[in-house]
């Protein structure tokens, strides 16, 4: 009788041990999955910060020239960089900003719209790359003008293209349907 009791007790202990091992291993796997998710988010953030930092370093000569009022030289630096990084979104943004200062508004609108098409960060308030303020000011000052220009000069494909780009930028600022 005593021997049978020991057998039952042994079986119960074994069951507890197996359950415990199972529970522990389950918890561990959940923890490691959570760790993985944290790692992934961190990796993405680190990659993003690295990209922003790289762009700042890459375009530093352009920005320095622009900030010191040498817009024409800044454009030449951009032309040179565009040989290695053609149609790169940050370069497009800077080109748009500089052309705006030089009075080539129509071309500037095209470059800014192209940058936003390539990378939505330029209209994202939270992004260090954001040019939302600039685009808002551009819309405030140019949208009415280009509507009128396109209406007065229906033969001009380029003023129509600029108006289309302005509407696109306006739409991107407004955000999508959620």
């Amino acid at each position: 009788m005593e021997k049978r009791f020991d057998l039952v007790l042994g079986a119960l202990l074994l069951l507890c041990a197996v359950t415990l091992v199972g529970l522990l291993s389950g918890t561990g796997s959940q923890a490691s999955q959570r760790d993985l998710r944290v790692d992934k988010a961190l990796e993405q953030e680190i990659a993003y910060q690295a990209k922003v930092s790289f762009l700042e370093r890459l375009y530093a000569p352009v920005i320095n020239l622009r900030d010191s009022g040498q817009n024409e030289s800044a454009l030449l630096q951009l032309d040179e960089l565009s040989r290695k990084y053609p149609d790169e979104a940050h370069g497009e943004t800077l080109r748009g900003e500089i052309l705006l200062q030089l009075g080539a508004t129509q071309k500037a609108i095209g470059h800014l719209a192209s940058a936003v098409r390539m990378n939505g960060d330029y209209v994202d308030k939270q992004s260090p790359l954001s040019r939302r303020g600039l685009i808002e000011r551009l819309l405030a000052s140019e949208l009415t003008k280009f509507k009128q220009l396109a209406a007065d000069n229906s033969a001009s494909r380029s003023s129509q293209a600029a108006l289309k780009d302005l509407y696109y930028l306006q739409g991107r600022l407004a955000g999508g349907c959620e």
């Binding site: 024409e72 030289s73 030449l76 040179e80 129509q106 033969a155 380029s158």
Partner: protein, 297 residues
């Protein structure tokens, strides 16, 4: 008998073909030479063929020297013009040339600008430093290679005729590149170079952005321009303009057995329909610099 019917049918067909060709009008487009007649024709013959196909007119491309352009246009040698924007203004003032469309190329699109450059490290950092130095300009009737820089100097209180030790204009073709290289290799201290040429040379890797200091640059103004004789059919003028502004980079033309992209073969990004008032800045510069069409002696 059937052979006779066949021969008669063939004859009628031939006759119809001959009549069709004879009915298509012939008109001439004068193209201003940038570097050489050969280059001008290579660039613009495919575009001319495209215009012929679209407008059902046999257009002939006539290469014209810049200096002769207004005179030859006034003499009725061609009906349509493609010239720089200063030559357009001259013909507008003197012959009431009708504005068609403005060429788009480079950073500024349908606009361009003139820059004054010096070699980096030469000690010339501002426009004030160029007094007493040797300067090289582009050709006299070049709005972004001569006029804009001449005017810029005058506006800065520097008289190119008095305050510069010596200035010259290179001979032959590729003058705009020559002025850049003249400064690069130290033959001259300062050069008047079109912003577009500096841009293209940088993009091509012929020079780097760090080779030069831009001492000053003019505001932007319209680039090369198509015009039409004032007494042409208004509907033709309208269709010609629309054909140009509708051109996209994917449009092609069959030319001498090849299918070519029209804009790329002419080194053009597109066309824009500007207003004549957009050329007012060129008029102001020409008046200040005492240049045609406002030159007084």
């Amino acid at each position: 008998m059937s052979l006779r019917i066949y021969a008669a049918f063939l004859f009628i067909l031939l006759l119809a073909g001959c009549q069709g060709t004879a009915e298509r009008p012939v008109m001439k487009i004068g193209y201003m030479n940038c570097n050489s007649e050969a280059e001008t024709l290579t660039r613009f013959r495919p575009l001319t063929q495209y215009l012929s196909d679209k407008l059902e007119i046999d257009f002939q491309a006539i290469p014209v020297d810049t200096q002769d352009f207004p005179e030859r246009f006034a003499a009725g040698e061609f009906d349509f013009t493609h010239s720089n924007s200063l030559v357009y203004v001259i013909m507008r003032e003197e012959q009431q040339l009708e504005l068609l469309a403005t060429e788009q190329r480079g950073n500024y699109g349908s606009r361009t600008a003139g820059a004054i450059i010096a070699k980096k490290g030469s000690g010339i950092e501002t426009l004030a430093d160029i007094k007493g130095k040797r300067m090289i300009f582009g050709p006299q009737l070049a709005p972004s290679g001569f006029l804009a820089q001449y005017d810029l100097l005058l506006r800065e209180g520097i008289d190119p005729e008095l305050d510069i030790a010596y200035y010259a204009i290179p001979s032959g073709s590729f003058k705009h590149e020559k002025v850049v290289y003249a400064v690069y290799f130290g033959d001259y201290d300062v050069a008047a170079a079109p912003a577009l040429d500096i841009e293209l040379m940088t993009k091509d890797g012929k020079i780097t952005a760090d080779d030069f200091v831009i001492l000053g640059q003019s505001p932007i103004f319209p680039y090369c321009t198509f015009g039409a004789r004032k007494d042409l059919d208004p509907d033709l003028i309208k269709r010609f303009r629309q054909t140009l502004v509708d051109l996209t980079e994917t449009d092609t033309v069959d030319y001498q057995g090849e299918t070519l992209k029209v804009l790329a073969s002419a080194w053009i990004d597109g066309f824009e329909a500007l207003q004549d008032s957009d050329y007012d800045y060129i008029r102001e510069m020409a008046k200040r610099a005492n240049m045609p069409p406002y030159q007084e002696f």
